[in-house]
Symmetry: C2
């Protein structure tokens, strides 16, 4: 599962949990809204739990937010689902020829700029909380019902 997909699924799940005061939904139900496989939901929820963003109980459907929406940033969500193996925004780069001076050194030469770019991206994600997202969704839903 790609980081982008995991991030999208994670945010979606958290929004569903945050907005749905009703009965706790099993992974199968969440999967219908997200549009993916229930197992993918469980895997992502497992990561969110490990990161301390939600609380779940094995065998019991659904989950609760572990802290207020205001305190969950998009950055935290991103980090929660970012796996050991392959996070880097830019997976620079395939297989440069080690016999060529440029091929041998370009990776290191690009390290700082790319790290900088990734940090800038992550910094932007820190500016938004789950609350911002759910507020935005709520607002749009209201508009659907009243107007139009």
């Amino acid at each position: 599962m790609r980081i982008n997909t995991r991030f999208a699924v994670a945010t979606h799940i958290l929004a569903l949990i945050a907005l749905n005061d009703a009965a706790p939904a099993p992974s199968e139900r969440l999967a219908v809204s997200v549009g993916c496989h229930p197992v993918a939901i469980r895997q992502v929820m497992s990561s969110l739990k490990k990161a301390g963003l939600i609380e779940t109980q094995s065998g019991t459907p659904g989950g609760r937010l572990a802290k207020p929406q205001e305190e969950i940033t998009l950055y935290e969500i991103y980090q929660a689902v970012k796996k050991e193996g392959d996070p880097a925004l830019f997976d620079f780069h395939p297989n440069p020829n080690q016999l060529c001076p440029v091929g041998r050194n370009i990776r290191e030469a690009m390290k700082i700029p790319l790290y900088d770019a990734q940090a800038a991206m992550e910094g932007a994600l820190k500016k938004y909380s789950l609350r911002d997202i759910t507020d935005s969704i709520f607002e749009k839903v209201q508009r659907e019902q009243t107007n139009m």
Copy 2:
């Protein structure tokens, strides 16, 4: 070809052109250093030409920088190889269920944060020029030869 790969290949090619005062290298030679297929080299060089970063001539091997290294930023390189088809940093998101209020609206709700994140990333790339990269490579090559 993925945007990340294209970006890496493009930077590599530009560094090779910038550093190699010697004879112009055909795509096959560049491919050896980059570690990919010659056709990929030609495709990326085609993009770089369209973006006004290099000058090439059909039938004649190699290419020249169209402007000084100082004036070619990593951002420009990134933009040059970014294709129409939607390279967006976060391809949010697969196929949310349109029958669910959250699934129907989350994409729009995430739009601003994700756009912001991408802009931040691109802003960081603007801070570095091709010269920074080639200087760094040159420095590392020097160190390889003298010390160690």
